[in-house]
Amino acid sequence: MLSHQNASNNWDDAANLSSNPPALLELLDVKRQFTLGQVTVQALRGISVQIVRGESVAVWGPSGSGKSTLMNLLGLIDVPDAGQIRFDGENVNQYTDDRLADFRNRKIGFIFQSFNLIPVLNALENVMLPLQVQGVPDGQARERAMEWLDQVGLEKFATFRPDRLSGGQRQRTAIARALVIDPMLIIADEPTANLDSENSHSVIELIRSMNQLTGVTCVFSTHDPRLLDQVPRHLLLKDGQILEDRRVEAVQ
């Protein structure tokens, strides 16, 4: 396991609650390739990495380095061609599609670059959706979703559909949707890429405070130096391999 080198910032605190925090995610020699026409692209060339509970990790690197592929595998929305993925101690490689869907629904929250809210549902209904998929009764789901909208400062926009929300508000709604299930892991794929600097800052602060509040493990992919500055562990990818796994002192 890659240990923490710095415990001086809040994002590290959650990961340091115990002296030997258990690994939430383990990737063992994971490989993934894609065929584009007649060309086969090695997107990941045997990656092994561990991410512990409560940790915040930024995955970064140049375009085509394999960031998105790694994020997809960590979020269990893609399967490796070789290697093993263990999530919370379970080997998820052999899971059926439905079991993986249930697993994601209960344990993983997604924050997408383009927000990916359901356009016909209002903010509250979007946040309720993962709970309804779990089968949580509507009243209870509504209550929990409203609490999270309140947490992200959107309680007054609960009845607004995505097309009436600003980019920042949409991403906050997406964050509430990701957190409402009380996940073990948040996968955020370039969460600030489509936001202006003010909204980016606000979203980064929000994710950071949620991490502190809930102790949820967060994995980001980003190019945004402002986000990188806030995250204590950086995985630098190049040509489908981890070039550097670095602990940094995050900016407070």
């Binding site: 929305i77 869907a101 249930d102 994601r104 629904n105 990916n116 359901i118 959706l129 998929v133 949707r177």
Partner: protein, 408 residues
């Protein structure tokens, strides 16, 4: 996740496309329902014409072979008075409310004293005729019990011989034993047969007169049975076949549908047209829904990826699109039903008449409502539409999530 609300909102999302699809379903459904309604009214009219107009009743009992060999050896196929009584007893034992009427058909020449022409006549007792005519008992052409030699003739036949109500005429026939026999009759009424082929040769004659003329006192070539309810026809026929056989009779029992060739021909033609129309309309509707759902699935591929990422099963994605297709069909059928009722009301109120082929009179254009066919069409459309939605939805739901999320 409430699929119905989710589905309805998705339909409203691209309301123009949904509206066009719903309208195409509505118009198609209305076309099917209106034609089925028209056919139903036509069948009803033709069946009434056969049962009460042609006096076929619901069942006709004859000796085996009468239809093919009756003309060659009439005596062999006539039922005696005792046989008629026994058969009537068996019928009434089965259906106490059944009406039993003996009949005897003859043919020969009808003369006005100057010229003659062939005729086909039905011998029936005036009181039996009144009952067998059912709702048409007050229409023209009924025999009168008061005039023993009174006959009624088809208008075409009357016109051919210049006969009117009160005119005298003579009937010349060959008796049961092959001898010529003639009798004077009085025309009491004229009527329309409704059938162009019979209009210039058909007439009704009192049974007693026919029996006398044919030298077959107390005898009949068939027994007509009128049941209280037409739906009993087949069941009663089955019972009677067994019981009459057990009673020692070798008889043939035909339903009115079997005997009314015209009804069967028209029904067969209308059924074929209905099947053809149904196939065309259903094909158009299914293509319209397939197009709408395929477009919708393509446009929402990224959304499907998001739903799958947050844990929605493939089957639920497919169910969502199937629900949308079903909602469109239900809305379309509902709109189609409204359209059907409006058009039906308009046509029925417009008092339109037309002359059908082989008919002597104009008939009103009336549209009924065939509930069974309307429901069957709606169910068929629903099933096909769900299938049309499932195929593209299944393709999209089976796509890898990362591909769906990356779809532009």
């Amino acid at each position: 996740m409430n699929f119905t609300i989710f589905g309805l909102r998705n339909l409203l999302r691209n309301y123009r496309r949904s509206l066009i699809t719903v309208l195409s379903i509505a118009i198609g459904f209305a076309a099917i329902s209106l034609f089925a309604g028209y056919a139903q009214t036509t069948y009803r009219g033709l069946s009434e014409q056969a049962v009460y107009g042609e006096l076929l009743g619901h069942l006709t009992i004859t000796k085996h072979g009468l239809i093919n060999e009756g003309r060659l050896h009439p005596e062999q196929y006539l039922m005696t008075y005792n046989e008629i009584e026994q058969i009537a007893k068996v019928v009434r034992k089965n259906v106490s409310d059944a009406y039993v009427a003996p009949r005897l058909g003859i043919n020969g020449l009808l003369s006005n004293g100057h010229v003659s022409t062939i005729f086909l006549a039905e011998g029936i007792a005036p009181s039996d005729m009144e009952v067998l005519r059912g709702p048409r008992r007050n229409a023209s052409g009924g025999l009168s019990a008061d005039t023993q030699s009174g006959v009624t003739v088809a208008r075409g036949l009357a016109e051919m011989l210049g006969l009117k109500e009160g005119s005298d005429a003579s009937l010349l026939v060959s008796t049961l034993h092959g001898q010529a026999n003639a009798i004077d009759v009085t025309i009491t009424d004229t009527f329309s047969t409704g059938n162009a082929g019979m209009e210039d040769k058909f007439m009704f004659v009192p049974l007693a007169l026919v029996q006398s003329l044919f030298d077959a006192q107390g005898r009949a070539d068939r027994i007509t049975v009128l049941l209280p309810d037409v739906t009993q026809t087949e069941a009663v026929r089955m019972q009677l076949v067994t019981q009459l056989k057990a009673a020692g009779f070798d008889l043939e029992i035909n339903t009115w549908e079997e005997l009314s060739v015209f009804y069967r021909q028209v029904k067969s033609m209308f059924d074929m047209i209905f099947g053809f129309l149904l196939a065309i309309v259903v094909s158009i509707i299914v293509m319209s829904i397939t197009n709408a759902m395929t477009m919708s699935v393509i446009e929402r591929t990224r959304e499907i990826g998001t739903l799958r990422a947050i844990g929605v099963h493939r089957s639920s994605v497919v169910r969502l699109f199937a629900t949308e297709a079903l909602l469109m069909v239900m809305l379309g059928c509902l709109a189609g039903l409204t359209l059907t009722l409006l058009v039906r009301f308009g046509i029925n109120a417009a008092d339109i008449t037309y002359q059908p082929p082989n008919s002597t009179d104009k008939v009103p254009l009336l549209i009924g409502f065939d509930f069974t066919k309307a429901i069957a069409s709606a169910v068929l459309l629903s099933l096909l539409s769900i299938t049309a939605a499932i195929l593209p939805a299944q393709r999209a739901a089976s796509r890898p999530i990362i591909d769906a999320l990356g779809h532009v």
